[in-house]
């Protein structure tokens, strides 16, 4: 049994209570991520109408509906270009995009690379549960090699995609990885990402006990969360290595690049 972390009550003005209960399965990591996100909004003292939350399709895609802000549920994989249009039109808005692994780096992978390359001021939180949950447990781009899923009954033959390395390589000016086993740290990282003026990626390792857990023999969410604790290490780079563990930490926080919507305003003045 993992240690229980005492938590304060989630800030109510950021949650649309009338749309609860949410659709996520018991033990899902998305609640932890969402709660940390809205807690940072509260700590930053933002107004609800200064925040735009843009999501795509999938379990993570449904997160926007529960946030009391200006929220958009787009089509599969296209949250980032939508968010890009919004940020370019309204640089004064805090634009946050919640993506799943399939939505963010599968179908939306090209947009992810280019949003990073553009350094558009969007906070992209990629909730990586390493499986397609909403559609019933099919292999995703981040499903580990050898892992069984509903579409890899003999084990996944493909190498898995490393979201943080992808973001790093594509030029995202803020890149971090955290996990749901340490919500306090996750919140701190999300907050730094929200404050970053540029394209910020937070990859969150999150548990899907219903599907990923079922296929990997870890149907108990506590066990999965524990797995994150035991199989990660604090690192400075997504390329750092320590046994077979996964590096976690803020890998890049670079303030030397101009955010795109601001660069465009400067062009107007010239």
């Amino acid at each position: 049994m993992a240690d229980r972390i005492p938590l304060s009550k989630a800030p109510e003005r950021w949650i649309r209570k009338k749309y609860l209960p949410h659709i996520w399965c018991p033990g899902c990591g998305l609640g932890t991520v969402l709660r940390q996100l809205v807690e940072q909004f509260e700590k930053l003292g933002w107004n609800n109408d200064e925040v735009v939350v843009v999501t795509g399709i999938g379990c993570t895609g449904r997160a926007s509906g529960y946030v009391n802000a200006q929220t958009i549920h787009t089509i599969h994989g296209r949250a980032l270009p939508t968010a890009t249009g919004i940020k370019m039109a309204r640089p004064d808005m805090h634009v946050v995009s919640l993506l799943g692994d399939g939505d963010g780096v599968g179908i939306g992978g090209n947009h992810f690379i280019h949003a990073a390359k553009r350094n558009i001021g969007i906070t992209a939180i990629v909730v990586n549960n390493r499986i397609y949950g909403m559609t019933g447990g099919q292999a995703s781009p981040t499903t580990p090699t050898g892992t069984k899923s509903s579409t890899t009954p003999y084990g996944n033959l493909e190498p898995s995609m490393d979201i943080s390395k992808l973001a790093f390589g594509a030029g995202a000016t803020f890149v971090a990885r955290a996990h749901t086993a340490n919500p306090v740290y996750l919140g701190q990282v999300i907050r730094r990402a929200l404050e970053h003026d540029g394209f910020a990626v937070v990859e969150v390792l999150s548990q899907c006990p219903t599907y990923f857990g079922r296929y990997t023999g870890m149907p108990d969410p506590v066990e999965m969360v524990k797995w994150f604790q035991e199989n990660t290490f604090m690192a400075k780079s997504p390329y750092d290595e320590q046994e077979d563990k996964i590096p976690v930490g803020v890998f890049r926080d670079d303030k030397n690049f101009r955010e795109l919507s601001k660069a465009y305003r400067a062009l107007w003045e010239e």
Binding site: E50, G65, N68, T71, R90
Partner: protein, 374 residues
């Protein structure tokens, strides 16, 4: 003031003159000149040009900017238009105004990248999955490309629907001396009449859409492409889903008379009726004029609004003239002809297609042959 303008440039000027504030696109022949012109013009008008990674990203960025209060459009050709289809359905469902310029080239697939085709008509009307409202305009010359780009932007904003302008390679690349009309301005958004707590983004007032509130004004609504209730939150309740889709479909039907435009040419006493659109409409006009000079009783109808289709108007003309036949020249294998036949279902007037897809305009002789001996 008259100017010598290329069609694609006229389209870009039209958009800026109408009040366009955002363009996102991906280079593709024969529409790239629109992007090039707007990359220069928009920053001078406090607007934004953004080159995206693909056409899906382009239309979604346009939808995002439109949601955020910037009148938006994108431009492309067949292959890119195919990629945009899912997003067109999203704009229809989420009711976000967006205009798509499709400068048609010959398909399918890469087809003839630099040569004319008119094969995107069905795709423009029916391309995305599910029944949905969409507006489709089709200019036949450079001046009309200017006018219908503005009409598309206007109506997209007014009805909160996606609007498509179907030009073609000849119209896009042709240079003409044109007298530009007074611009049609994109309607300004107004603040909703109700307070944020009472705002229902998908509730119709007298059957019409409610205003989209500016970001940062306290309206915290939810937008989705899933079936939703009036509050924008997803629902699977049959009554609410039906109400939503009924209302979406009714938007263009309700405004049929304001939306539908067509040109009638030399219809008096016509025994043969030609129906043709885009560049072939113009070629057909030349043929009709020449045959009239020779005493042949032939007239022409050129739809400028392709959807909603001018079915009742066409039907009325046919009922009045009772022509011996209808000739439909088009650079595809009969997409307009299907619509004409559907509009005239139950009548016995033969509808003859003149179809050729080889990269060129259909030669006038082929049309003449069909009128005289088809």
């Amino acid at each position: 003031m008259s100017k010598i303008l290329m069609g694609d440039i006229a389209c870009a000027l039209a958009a800026v003159d109408a009040g366009l504030k955002f363009y996102a696109g991906y280079p593709i022949t024969p529409s790239s000149e629109i992007a090039e012109a707007l990359s220069e013009l928009l920053p001078k008008h406090k607007g934004i040009y953004l080159q995206m990674e693909d056409e899906i990203g382009s239309i979604m960025a346009a939808i995002g900017a439109s949601y955020a209060g910037y009148p938006s459009m994108t431009a492309t050709s067949g292959p890119g238009f195919s990629l945009m289809q899912e997003a067109i359905g999203y704009a229809a469902m989420a009711e976000i105004p967006v205009t798509i310029i499709d400068v048609m080239r010959a398909g399918p697939a890469t087809g003839l990248a630099t040569q004319i085709g008119e094969g995107d008509l069905m795709q423009a009307i029916w391309g995305t999955h599910g029944d949905h409202p969409v507006l489709v305009f089709s200019p036949g010359n450079v001046r009309e490309f200017y006018i219908y780009t503005q009409k598309a932007l206007f109506w997209a904003e007014k009805l909160r629907v996606p609007a498509v302008v179907l030009a073609d390679e000849v119209i896009g690349h042709m240079k003409e001396n044109v007298e530009l009309p007074e611009p049609i301005k994109i309607p300004e958004r107004r603040i909703p009449d109700v307070k944020p707590e009472q705002y229902l983004p998908y509730a119709a007032v007298d059957g019409d859409v409610v205003p989209l509130p500016p970001l940062g004004s306290g309206y915290l609504w939810h937008m989705t492409g899933s079936a939703h209730g009036e509050d924008g939150f997803p629902t699977i309740r049959p009554d609410r889903v039906k109400a939503l889709l009924d209302r979406l479909i009714s938007k263009t039907v309700k405004h049929h008379n304001e939306l539908v435009e067509y040109e009638a040419y030399m219809l008096d006493d016509a025994e043969v009726l030609v129906v043709s659109f885009a560049s072939m409409g113009r070629v057909s006009k030349g043929v009709v004029k020449e045959l009239r000079d020779r005493g042949v009783k032939v007239g022409l109808l050129t739809p400028l609004t392709m959807w909603p289709f001018f079915a009742p108007e066409l039907r009325a003309v046919v009922d009045k003239l009772n022509p011996k036949k209808i000739v439909v020249p088009e650079i595809n294998y009969g997409q307009l002809r299907i619509l004409v036949e559907w509009a005239l279902r139950g009548t016995s007037v033969p509808v003859i297609g003149v179809n050729l897809v080889n990269g060129d305009l259909i030669p006038p002789e082929m049309i003449e042959e069909a009128i005289l001996h088809g």
